[in-house]
Symmetry: C2
Subunit: 546 residues, 2 copies
């Protein structure tokens, strides 16, 4: 079958399996959660939010920029991956035209012509990827690797750079558990395996990965590696990069198989160049990961602290003493208050303001209990009040759902976005104040009151992350409004000792701050590696490297 | 004062402070430990070792290749660092003419002209290092960064590559605790701070680093970082690279200050390019390190296992269950037997062959006891027999002294060297057998019986290190004899899934295996970074990068 028959340029029928997320909102439309009238009233009263005018376009109504690829290009792609694995149909291009940041979602609501990849390919082997990269270098076509489509930093923007077209390279066919070594506790998973599928494949053998970022239900193993993802259980199981024992990467210059040993002194650790490489150096096809037995027991306990500083000190003590929680997180006063207001009932416990902390302990019964007891002693000594299991269970129950709330807020005319950073413990208060002030200041300047919520979700012996959620009223052109706010808060983060991103990655959105993050010589290193591996510059142009 | 007056080319008086180690043996001559006649008899009987003929040259008798630098070069160097910080005197060059591998020590015993750096400089600031690098690029002089001088892989070989001369850049003046953040548990230490000095500076504030490689007494913070060192307490405190929060590096292309946050998703982790960079990309000047409170309590316990496989499984269980020992190590049957034979008395406990394991637990009293109890339960269940504290204390007492024994063995006409690798738990037995067979086979071929001892000294959830000690008789030209053995065992390590080095680094000696370690594309990446940062190729030529 000729490829143009199946999915010719400009065609609209989907010829390929679709990404796991809906095209114009977070995740699964069935889980969408409209706001109650009470909440809408509250948003109007507190922030002056007024309903957005007009209705959102349906997928059929969206106008996509036509594909720049001709039948001859498509035939060449089909010759590599097979005609059934390439498409230029709008219905295949649209859901791969970006990620899920608030700007992405605002763009999806536009009735103006939208940008999109010129074609989608689904390679089935490393050899096909190598051949695709060679073909794209020859034909000057950019390549955007695509996993679960959950980027919130513009990592999937269909940018061409100076090239003539851009391809979405969807890794969904790299979907296998290639190897499990139960003795060493290692699994090799294909880059296209999603979070839930990874846990399903591993649990059949009694193992799990324990990586639960908010994007867990949709994001992929390759994406976790390419973005240095960090999950909500990072206190117990580490960041994703800490789980990675090895990587296979196809680059235009050849294929890499990195990570010979659990640890080595054989020069620089090159795995660390591809962790966080966001598709600009190569296409990650498989990841060798540390896995652990599925825990037998889970213990939940929530805590209240009188204020954020006291709670943060308590979390620091827990981490520096190594008492072993699987999850430990702390909401600031505003986030605690709002979560209470938005939740009908949190188990009847005496949550009376202050700051809510959540702890979870996993392992064998003995391990979980010992970890719980040790942590409990530290939190009590640090001024915490135990609130029982229920609020911690409630957090866990809804742990992946916050982005659905953002969809509903955008529908209601609010501006809602999240961002995150990290710093040393000694600098945490200063950075939190500076980022909050920058957010509030920029939103005030745009003409709206705002709500800035914050929590610590990842702790390290020397510091912690800060995760901010911002809610305000859309004013004027909301894309431009947010761009200004984002600029202000990013500048404040860099000026106050934070990193531009703790776990969302760089993409196109944080790229302007990469020079400040790694310095001029750091940028030169990234460019040198890029030039060596991808001399034609086809891999994800406009991302990561300034 | 003109520099040539103070330390002119060919002059012999030491003009500079000397490195911490003696020039022709390990460490401090006062700690040298000659072999007893019994041991000498045993070596003769078991391995056919016969005393080496002739006496070792004294420092005065050593003939060094004359310095290739003229007075004008020396004046230019002196203009950067001050005349009191540059020398071409033999007495300054000789102790910086290499490291402390067995080949290094054999070379030091030669009465033929020896290679050495053409000059030694002691810069006092990053600005001076930057100026030195610029000067050396202009004058085509290679630069070997020098810390404690403890390399055992040829990392300090005074190689010129295609350049005209080579400089030893001694970092001893970078000797300060620059900053201590007691809240975050972070310290910034100068690259020239030695292990004992680091602990002294930190303990004044109640903190320690807990990094105790065998080279601890002499090696420096910069060297630990540049070689991915791993200490004997790595089970508790991690490898050195895991302690590093940030690095400052002066390169010919500019200065880097890496590590903004405890964790980040802002692209590749560039710190990991300089950890293990062995001076080929830049000169590390300061390291920001995670530190912890000086432990209040230390608990020792030794164990016996019936065989190595049972003991290895026990160590694996401990590490995978995370029971928290600070030190855990296991000697194989041969090493256990030899250590018993060489030790007059190990506390009267019932050590009766099998495999000796050592455990140490540190922390508060509560932490140390809990870690001990949890670990004890696992080791008992895995078939271990507790031997009490004494054999573990004896190990700790002599933990840094094995290299002195090597000196004595070389003096007695034996060939003695160590090497190490790491692999996954599931592959540990295969790799140990293959490396042992390769060592024994090559030594047999060289005409001597041999003793191959092995221990596990570093454990990870997914695997462990293997550290081999080899003793045989010197045959023919011992440098050539060892080169052949080293080649055979390195090939066997690579063919059987090991890494070419777990914590000794690459230097000149492991460089031929770097292609197999990181692959052709990996080598291309290293070269690209090198070209970007050091286009003149002055930094440590002939090391690390093939």
């Amino acid at each position: 079958m000729a490829p143009e028959t199946q999915a010719g340029p400009g065609g609209t029928a989907a010829a390929l399996p679709l990404p796991p997320m809906t095209w114009d909102a977070w995740g699964d439309p069935a889980l969408a959660k409209p706001l109650s009238d009470d909440i809408k009233g509250l948003l109007a009263a507190a922030l002056g939010v007024s309903p957005a005018d007009g209705t959102r376009p349906t997928a059929d109504e969206v106008v996509l920029r036509p594909s720049a690829l001709g039948p001859e290009d498509v035939a060449a792609l089909a010759a590599v991956v097979g005609p059934e694995h390439v498409s230029t149909a709008d219905a295949d291009r649209l859901p791969r035209s970006g990620g899920k940041s608030t700007p992405d979602l605002l763009r999806r609501r536009s009735r103006d012509p939208q940008d999109a990849p010129d074609a989608v390919v689904l390679p089935g082997s490393e050899e096909e990827i190598a051949a695709l990269l060679a073909l794209c270098a020859e034909r000057r076509i950019a390549v955007v690797p695509f996993g679960g489509g959950t980027s919130v930093v513009g990592g999937l923007d269909p940018l061409r750079g100076p090239l003539t077209a851009v391809l979405s390279l969807d890794l969904r066919r790299f979907d296998r558990l290639e190897h499990l070594d139960a003795v060493s506790g290692e699994a090799v998973l294909g880059a296209g395996v999603t979070g839930p599928r990874a846990e399903e494949l591993l649990s059949a053998h009694g193992f799990e990965l324990g990586h639960y970022p908010q994007s867990f239900r949709f994001a992929t193993v390759g994406g976790f590696a390419a973005t240095r993802s960090s999950g909500q259980d990072s206190a117990g199981y580490g960041r994703f990069d800490e789980m990675v024992r090895g990587l296979r990467v196809v680059t235009p210059a050849g294929t890499l198989d990195l990570g010979r040993a659990p640890a080595s002194a054989a020069g620089p650790d090159l795995r660390e160049l591809f962790l966080g490489s966001e598709g600009v150096f190569g296409v990650i096809t498989a990841v060798r990961l540390r896995v652990h037995p599925v825990p037998a027991v889970k213990i939940h306990e929530a805590w209240s602290f009188p204020d954020f500083a006291t709670g943060a000190t308590a979390l620091r003590e827990v981490e520096q003493q190594g008492t072993g929680p699987t999850v430990i997180r702390l909401s600031d006063e505003s986030e605690t208050m709002i979560n209470l207001a938005m939740t009908e009932k949190i188990g009847g416990e005496q949550v009376t303001g202050g700051c809510l902390a959540v702890t979870v302990f996993e392992g064998t019964e003995e391990q979980a209990e010992a970890r719980h007891e040790r942590t409990r002693a530290v939190l009590l000594a640090a001024g915490g009040t135990p609130l029982g299991a229920e609020p911690a269970r409630a957090w866990e129950h809804g742990r992946f759902n916050a982005p659905y709330l953002r969809d509903a807020l955008l529908d209601a005319g609010a501006l809602c976005e999240t961002l995150e950073t990290a710093t040393d413990w000694a600098n945490l208060g200063r950075l939190k104040s500076a980022a909050t002030e920058a957010l509030q200041g920029a939103l005030t300047a745009s003409g709206t009151a705002s709500l800035v919520l914050c929590h610590i979700s990842h702790v390290y012996p020397t510091g912690a992350s800060l995760y901010f959620t911002v809610v305000a009223a859309q004013q004027g052109e909301p894309l431009a409004q947010w761009a200004q706010v984002k600029r202000a808060v990013s500048d404040a983060i860099m000026a106050n000792g934070g990193t531009i991103t703790h776990h969302h990655a760089v993409g196109a959105d944080h790229r302007p701050w990469m020079g400040a993050e790694v310095g001029e010589v750091g940028v030169r290193i990234l460019r040198a590696v890029k030039d060596a591996l991808d001399p034609a510059g086809i891999l994800n142009p406009g991302k990561l490297i300034p």
